[in-house]
Amino acid sequence: MIKEKGQINENQEENLATSSKVESPWTIVGRRLRKNKLAMIGLVVITILSLAAIFAPFITGIPRDITNLANTNAPPSSEHLLGTDSLGRDMLTRLAYGGRISLTVGFVSTSLRILIGVILGGIAGYYGKGIDNVIMRIADIFSCLPFLPIAITFVAVLGPSIYNIMIVLAILGWPGIARIVRAEILSLREREFMEAATALGIGDFKKIVSHLIPNTMASIIVSATTGIASAILTESALSFLGLGVAPPTPTWGNMMYDAQSQYVLKNRWWQWVPPGIIIFLAVISLNLLGDGLRDALDPRLKQ
């Protein structure tokens, strides 16, 4: 008897759920993102840059570190599409290899940052009170530390390497993510579905991991995309100051560092313009993608 009633109700109520295919929240986000042209351009550019970095050995076929002192500072030619540097190494090859380091630093340091931020922010937001106070005051302290002096000290003590840069970026960057996650969880934990989870006897850990964190993903993803961009910039800045990755490993930043003399800037544009443009492209496309994701993930927009 109840089943029959169910069938009738279905006909009456079921307007929303009639469409045949099941749409998860993520498919909807994907659809909205595809409509945003700028974000798609950003996605395409960042994909091309990543692919170029992954397949760097096949782009020119010239080894990365082979010097050719007979052909230093050569302008772009058919043999070296972007010319050579002061040691005769092919610029295009080094640019592609540089992407490996710069993009890896961006992605890995941001992942680390998110890991720390989500764990601490989640705990602070869920438990509140004393725990929240302690964690957020620590976050305040970390975000008060001036970035460059700390980074320089850290790198000077531990030595310049790609891993140390990632660690510095993560350690100094997590408070931003932790604040976002905490703020979202503070409001989410008061929602009735959390009370329902308590009533169902679900444990704290599972409540945080499977109910709260997935609902904060939207803000985390947005903050991550822009975070990757700023990590790339910071890596470039540190490499430019000579604190980043040690030569001969190329990164976009230390390639610009190599070209910082007045004479080079004036006469050998191919040594500094291409890395500059690539950094600019990577950062702006990640920012565009982040903006697009923010709009696509906004649950208030329903389409």
Binding site: L16, S19, P25, G201
Partner: protein, 328 residues
């Protein structure tokens, strides 16, 4: 706390339950007062019956419901479920007991996690309590339950945003039923729905009660809904239970002046019928600073001097008919 066995077939017994929320203020966030949301509430619920609780907004109906499920911690008093004091239970026992006591919420929008499918929403607890294995087994149980609640089996893979308000409320009911509970607190389950869907959901709840032998605490501010579904009705005012009686007794002969005023506000579908409405004067006092004596004396048309100083006892005026008033 020693476990106490009750001889009667009471499933739930609430004794002098109190719930105060602290008011924090000042520079150091000191507690400067309390909102007395629930003050000295006592009642019992028999196995298989529906106890309706009515009252205005903010009178502590929902807080009572949540406190006796231990979703909020009590301030004082005792709650016995099946003879066991639930606040005396250790954590793991309490988690086990949660499979027996469930809640259906008012707002079908905020009570479902938007990132989970129906199967996950209703099946999560089954996995958590080890009652079913993740995957096929859970899906089978969930699709059974949602069919009982009037949804179709293929709905289990859908997300809440794909459903209408009434359907969402059915999912909320299915979530509560998945664990096969004995007792369900229905916290205004139909107030957020429009009238045509309200009756469907109420009939569903009544059918399920018959089929599964459920016991309900039905919280609502809608008098006609409560009358339809309840066996007994309790009336709350400013955190206290003022009257508790079998449904027919209460509607035929309300003893407390507040209940009389409340019942006189039910509209009657007859334009020629002239009835006497009791209009209460003034506003409901603040629960942070409730009046001394009888809490209703500031608005009661029959208030006496005694009412201002003495708290009336909640006593049995007639068999099964409890009331807290000096007049009776």
């Amino acid at each position: 706390m020693a476990e106490k066995l009750i001889e009667t077939n009471d499933l739930l017994e609430v004794k002098n339950l109190k719930k105060y929320f602290p008011i924090k203020g000042g520079f150091l966030k000191k507690t400067i007062g309390h909102v007395k949301a629930v003050e000295d509430v006592s009642f019992t619920i028999k196995k298989g019956e529906t106890l309706g609780i009515v009252g205005e907004s903010g009178c502590g109906k929902s807080t009572t419901g949540r406190t006796l499920l231990r979703l909020l911690e009590k301030t004082d008093g005792e709650v016995y479920y099946d003879g066991r004091e639930i606040y005396g239970l250790p954590k793991d026992e309490m988690i086990k007991l949660r499979t027996k006591m469930q809640i259906v919420f008012q707002d079908p929008y905020s009570s479902l996690n938007p990132r989970k499918t129906v199967s996950q929403i209703c099946g999560e607890a089954l996995v958590e309590h080890g009652l079913a294995k993740k995957g096929k087994e859970v899906n089978e149980i969930v699709s059974d339950v949602i069919q009982k609640c009037g949804l179709a089996p293929y709905h289990i893979r859908r997300y809440p945003h794909e459903f209408s308000g009434g359907q969402r409320q059915r999912i909320g009911i299915a979530r509560a039923l998945a664990l096969n509970p004995e007792f369900i607190v229905c916290d205004e389950p139909v107030s957020a729905l429009d009238v045509s869907i309200q009756s469907q959901v109420i009939n569903l709840l009544m059918d399920l009660q018959e089929e599964m032998g459920l016991t309900y605490l039905f919280i609502s501010h809608d008098l006609s809904v409560v009358k339809h579904i309840s066996d007994r009705i309790g009336v709350m005012y400013l955190g206290s239970l003022v009257e508790l009686a079998p449904k027919d007794d209460l509607y035929a002969e309300p003893l407390h002046p507040y209940t009389q005023a409340l019942l006189s506000a039910i509209p009657i579908a007859d334009p020629t019928y002239k009835k006497k409405r009791i209009i209460l004067k003034g506003d409901i006092p603040s629960p942070a600073n409730p009046p001394l004596g009888c809490r209703f004396h500031t608005r009661c048309p029959y208030a006496m001097d005694k009412c201002k100083t003495e708290v009336p006892e909640f006593k049995e005026a007639k068999p099964g008919h409890f009331v807290a008033c000096h007049l009776v």
